[in-house]
Amino acid sequence: MGEFRMPSLGADMETGKLVEWLVMPGERVKRGDIVATVETQKGLFEIEIFEDGIMGEPLVQAGQQVPVGAVLAMILTEGVAVAAATSPEAASTGPVRTEQPPPEKPAEVAVLKAPAAGTTARIAASPSARRLALELGIDLATVRGTGPHDVIQRSDVEQAAQAREEATKSAPISEQPATAGTLQPGMRQAIAAAMSRSNREIPHYYLEAEIDMDSPLRWLEAENLQRPLRDRILPAVLLLKAVAKALRDVPELNGYWLEDQLQIKPEIHIGFAMALRQGGILTPALHAVDRLNLSELMQAMGDLIERTRAGRLRSSEMTDATITVTNLGDRGVRTVFGVIYPPQVALVGFGRIMERPWAERGMLGVRRCVTATLAADHRATDGHRGSQFLEALNHHLQQPEEL
C-alpha cells in the first residue's frame, strides 16, 4: 500500500489545487496512469501515479488546495491485510484536515481489504510533535519515531520537515506553461531561483566543438523528400537523437548530483528547452529518447511542443529530465554557453546551423556547420569525459542512417 501525494512540480511550488480526479475509488491503476489534474500558479498539469494498485477513497476532494506532500489518496495493494500506520486516519493527521470516508459508503474499497475506518491504529506521537506536524504540513505516517517505543518526538518532525525542504530544493526546476498572454511573475522567479542556485553551487566547465552537418543534412533532405509534408523530420531531431546515443557512450553526463555524489540514470530523458511566445522558458522532458526512432522522436517532440504551448504537460515531464538540450538554432546565435539545471549535471547547447569555411585534407570548402557546446558539472565529470561526449556526438551525427 502506498500514498499518492501532491507532487512538487518545481522548487517554488508550495501548494496545488486538485482540479479533478480522473479515476474512481476501487479502480485499478498502474504506474504512469494519469489519475488527476492539478493546478498550480504555473498552469494545469496531468498528474501520474508511480505505483500499481487500486485507488482508495480520495482524501482530498476536487477543488481543494493542499500543500506539496499532502496525501491525496491511498493506493491499495490487492490482498494486503489491513495496514496500521499508513491508514487514512494517519494521513488525515497530515496537512489537510480531510473527512474520514463516510461510514455509510460501503465501498468497493473495503472489499479490496482497504483499511476500514475505525480499525486503524493511531500513530504514536507526542502532542507537541503532532501539533508541529500539522503546522508544518508533515504527514506523521512518513516520520520515523526515535522516542521510547518509537514514539514520534518533536525533533523527528523537525527533521522530516528539513528533509522535505531539501528534497523540494533538489527537485529539477520547472517553469510554468503560462497560457495567458503575459509572462506570470512566478515563472521568472522560478527561473531566477534555479539559475542562481546553479551558478552558486555548480562548478561549470564548458567545451565546444564544431560539427560538420553537411552529410547529415543531405541525408535528411533526401529522407524528407520521400515523406509527405506532415511527416517531415526537423534537423533538431537528428541532434536530439545523437545526444541520446552519445550519452549511452558517456553515461556520466546523464543523471543527477545529489548528496555529494553522481547518480547516473539509466533512462535518457532529455529536457528540451523551449521559449514560450509570451516569454520565459520551459524544459519539459522527452522520455527515453535513445529508444525512439527518428519518426517517433519527431512525433514526440511535436506533441510535447504543442502540449507545452497549450499548458497540458504531465507531472513527470516537469520533473524527470536527466539532462537538458538548448537548441538556439532558430536564432542567429552561434554558440550556447549553458547554465545547468540542478540537480542535472550537464547541458548541451546547439547554435544555428550555418555555412562556414571548412578546411579538410589541405582543401578549403564551404560546409553547413553547427557549434555544439557542453556545459557540465565539474564535480561529476572532467573535461576529458566531456570531450569524449562531444566526439561521440559528432560520430553519431556523421552516421545519420544509424540514428
Binding site: 498572454g181 533532405e221 524528407n224 523528400l225 509527405p228 509534408l229 506532415r230 517531415r232 526537423l234 534537423p235 533538431a236 521559449a275 511566445r277 509570451q278 517532440m301 511535436g302 511542443i305 538554432g329 532558430d330
Partner: protein, 81 residues
C-alpha cells in the same frame, strides 16, 4: 483561387502559428520567420496548414523562396493545382 484568397489563407495560417501577432502588418519583403519569431517547428506547421488548403507541398529545397510574404504568394500562385 484569386490572389486575394491566397493571401487570406497564408495570413490566417500565419496567425495560427503566431497568434499574438498581426501578420498583415509585416512588410511583404521582410523575412516572415524573423519578423514574427516563428521557429522551425511552427514553420513546418505553417507549411502543413498552407499545404492542406492550397494542395501545394513546398519541398525543403524551396524554403529560401518562401521566406517572405511576397515570395510565398508568388511561389504558391504559380503552383496551384
Amino acid at each position: 483561387m484569386t490572389g486575394n484568397e491566397l493571401k487570406e489563407i497564408v495570413l490566417s495560417e500565419l496567425k495560427k502559428v503566431a497568434p499574438e501577432s498581426d501578420p498583415g502588418e509585416v512588410d511583404p519583403n521582410e523575412n516572415i520567420r524573423e519578423a514574427l519569431d516563428i521557429d522551425s517547428f511552427s514553420f513546418l506547421k505553417l507549411l502543413v496548414g498552407i499545404g492542406e488548403r492550397t494542395r501545394v507541398e513546398i519541398p525543403e529545397v524551396d524554403y529560401g523562396k518562401v521566406s517572405t510574404l511576397a515570395g510565398m504568394l508568388e511561389y504558391l500562385a504559380t503552383r496551384l493545382p
